[in-house]
Each structure stands twice: as structure tokens, then as C-alpha cells.
Symmetry: C2
């Protein structure tokens, strides 16, 4: 089995989340924490504004892996995530996946997975392990 | 700072995801992999049916942490995830979080975070690190 990608290959995706997106995700995840869905409470919190759920930001990584790199047929085996800084509603998040290891014995690869905000600040960092088709 | 919870405390939540939930999550995450959203292609795949996005299943953990244990004010610092088995549309997923470590020096705790299907099979396993209020 030979991978059609190599160490160093990258894919990226930029997206902003709206208040409606966050409300949808709150219903899906049952996480109705006021810092996510209540603009008044969020403004009064240490964050100073409505924060996008970390797991929603992380879902962009899942999307990149399944749709772009490795792409269709990818099976998600694991994901380590470190949430470094908040993403606010309306922020422009760029999610990046970069191949860091391709196993010789099995169709399994590791990718560094991270997200930056529109100022280039690292907001999420981690490692994904995937089986590729 | 004293935690209002102790090692061994648990919270759990059971939920089924519909095809509509999966379609919503596909749009949020930009992951339109056919195994998630195309019933015909999914039936013909090695999974034999439409699989819920792993990160959507994992979002139940986020919900438990933010809403139940530790609860309101929780800040998500990190999450390690191992995807063990598929969850299909209509499956009953039970997400469980259990406190495994409370730091003495800072308001930081670790919880084992895992999900079972309706047959009691482990489908997702991991560790969350949180700062609690």
C-alpha cells in the first residue's frame, strides 16, 4: 500500500462561525453553556464575548481529513486536542492539517492538526491518527 | 480553591443522532464524506450504513463537561480521543465523564471521557483536561 501523499503535505480551510452555527451546535452537543449562546452573559464573562465551542472549531479538522487530506475513505482513529485560546463568533478560523508520519507497515498516518485565528494566533493544536483508503 | 466534586464522580448523557443531525454537522464541519450523508453509498461501504461523524459523538463529552461535571464556568483545556467503533444513525449513545484526577495546586482536573452504544460496546474513549470554576 502506497500513500498518495507525503510527509509535509498540507490542506487548509477557512471558516467563520455565526451565532446560528453555535446555536445549532449547542443543540447537537447539549452544551448550552452561556459563554456560547448568551451574548449578555458572555460579554460579562472573562471572555468578554460569545465563544465558539472548542469542539465545533475542532470539527473543521475532521472535515479536512475526511474531505481533503487524506480525503475520501479516511477512517478517523484518534485525535488529541489542546485548546489554546478562544475563538469568537465571527472570527475567521483557518484549520490546517499537515502529514507528519506515514507508517510503513499499515495504511496509517499521523497529521499535525491546528487552527489559527485571523491574526495568526494559534487557537487549537493537536495530532490526528487516521487510516487512509 | 476546593473542587465541589471528587475523584470517581460521574455524569452521563444518552442521545441518538438523526440523519438531520448528521446533515447539520456535515454543514458545520464541511465534512460531507458519503459514509455520513449518503445512505446508498454508506450501505455499500465497509460500514454497511450511515455513520455519525466521530467528532459529533465526541461533542456529547463537551456538553457533559460544560453543563454537568464540572459544569458551568468550565474551560476546556484539552481532549484526547480514540475512535474505537462506528456509531450509526439511530444508535443510542451514552457519553460518560468520570473524574480521575484533581490537581492540588491549580483548579485543573482530568476526566476519563468515553461513549458506549446501546449494546454497551465502547465506541469512543479518551481523557479531558479542564479548568473548573
Amino acid at each position: 500500500m502506497t500513500a498518495t501523499f507525503k510527509v509535509g503535505d498540507q490542506a487548509k480551510l477557512t471558516k467563520s462561525f455565526t451565532a446560528e452555527d453555535v446555536n445549532h451546535f449547542a443543540a447537537l452537543s447539549e452544551d448550552f453553556n452561556p459563554i456560547h449562546i448568551d451574548s449578555v452573559a458572555a460579554a460579562a464573562s472573562i471572555f468578554g464575548g460569545q465563544v465558539v465551542h472548542g469542539m465545533l472549531v475542532a470539527s473543521l479538522i475532521s472535515g479536512l481529513l475526511g474531505a481533503h487530506l487524506p480525503g475520501s475513505g479516511t477512517i478517523y482513529l484518534g485525535q488529541d486536542l489542546a485548546f489554546k485560546a478562544p475563538i469568537y463568533i465571527g472570527d475567521e478560523v483557518t484549520a490546517i492539517v499537515e502529514v507528519i508520519e506515514i507508517r510503513e507497515d499499515k495504511p496509517i498516518a499521523k497529521l499535525r492538526t491546528y487552527c489559527l485565528n485571523q491574526k495568526g494566533k494559534l487557537v487549537l493544536d493537536g495530532i490526528a491518527t487516521v487510516k487512509y483508503a
